[in-house]
């Protein structure tokens, strides 16, 4: 397998994530799409790590996963807080900064 294979796969997965972010109105799904995009990035990192025989790519993957965990925790906290106040998780109804 060449790294091109992995890159194409990663690009396609990234695209799916973008598709989700753009078309869905459900904020949880949008978050999940972002996770998909982060995974696509990780596939890239690992593929390059494999290509160059260098483990740094994996180190960065681990950092990305850590950041994703932090992002999910805070993001979901925000979703819960929003839901308590607005009784909705549709982002079209969350376009005001103040209510």
């Amino acid at each position: 397998m060449t790294s091109t294979h992995y890159l194409v796969l990663s690009a396609a997965l990234f695209m799916i994530g973008v598709f989700g972010v753009v078309t869905r109105r459900n904020i949880v799904i949008i978050f999940m799409s972002i996770e998909l995009m982060l995974n696509a990035v990780n596939i890239n990192l690992i593929a390059f790590s494999l290509q160059w025989g260098n483990s740094l790519g994996q180190v960065f993957t681990i950092f990305v996963i850590a950041v994703a965990a932090a992002e999910a925790a805070v993001g979901l906290g925000i979703i819960l807080a929003l839901y308590r106040n607005k009784e909705t998780i549709n982002i079209d109804e969350m376009n005001v900064m103040k209510w």
Partner: protein
């Protein structure tokens, strides 16, 4: 041969599950597909000789983060998705443009690849070894590692504050 079959199977699984994540109506099903997708990605990592990252992927992503998603989905109840009011004109247009751009890009890569096939990987057998990752993590990247742990701590505190009832 075996690795080609593995790659294409996993790639197909990853893309199909990914699509299902963003297209399924029922949010809980969506979360389930996300778990499946992450597991497939973990298997891909394993097939790329990166067992450590694969295990972390399963442990943190599938076993940790997605459980959080499931929790939130169950808390805010998505049996009646808030989906249905959407604004088709803007979103579909934008989605179409984006999809076109990326497709063009992929086509470009494929063509370039066909014209000038890159050398196969160095396939260094040591690249995926856990020891290597650990060494890099705890020597050269010690400061980023510590910063990441502080980030996680801050995120934890932040999440607790945000999710508190009386906000």
């Amino acid at each position: 041969m075996a690795d080609v079959i593995t790659f294409y199977t996993l790639a197909a699984l990853i893309l199909i599950f990914g699509l299902l994540v963003v297209t399924t109506r029922n949010t809980v099903h969506s979360v389930l597909f996300l778990v499946a997708d992450f597991l497939a990605v973990a298997m891909l990592y394993a097939s790329m000789n990166s067992l450590f990252v694969a295990a972390i992927q399963v442990l943190v992503y599938a076993g940790g983060i997605v459980v959080l998603y499931l929790f939130v989905v169950m808390l805010v109840n998505l049996k009646r998705p808030p989906e249905e009011v959407r604004d088709p004109a803007r979103q579909t247009g934008l989605g179409g443009v984006l999809a076109g751009v990326v497709l063009a890009e992929l086509a470009l890569i494929a063509v370039a690849n066909a014209l000038d096939p890159p050398a196969t990987d160095a396939a260094s057998s040591t690249a995926g070894l856990t020891e290597q990752v650990g060494l890099a993590l705890y020597t050269d990247y010690l400061i980023p590692f510590e910063v990441a742990s502080v980030l996680l701590l801050v995120a934890m505190v932040g999440a607790i504050v945000l999710a508190r009832r009386e906000l």
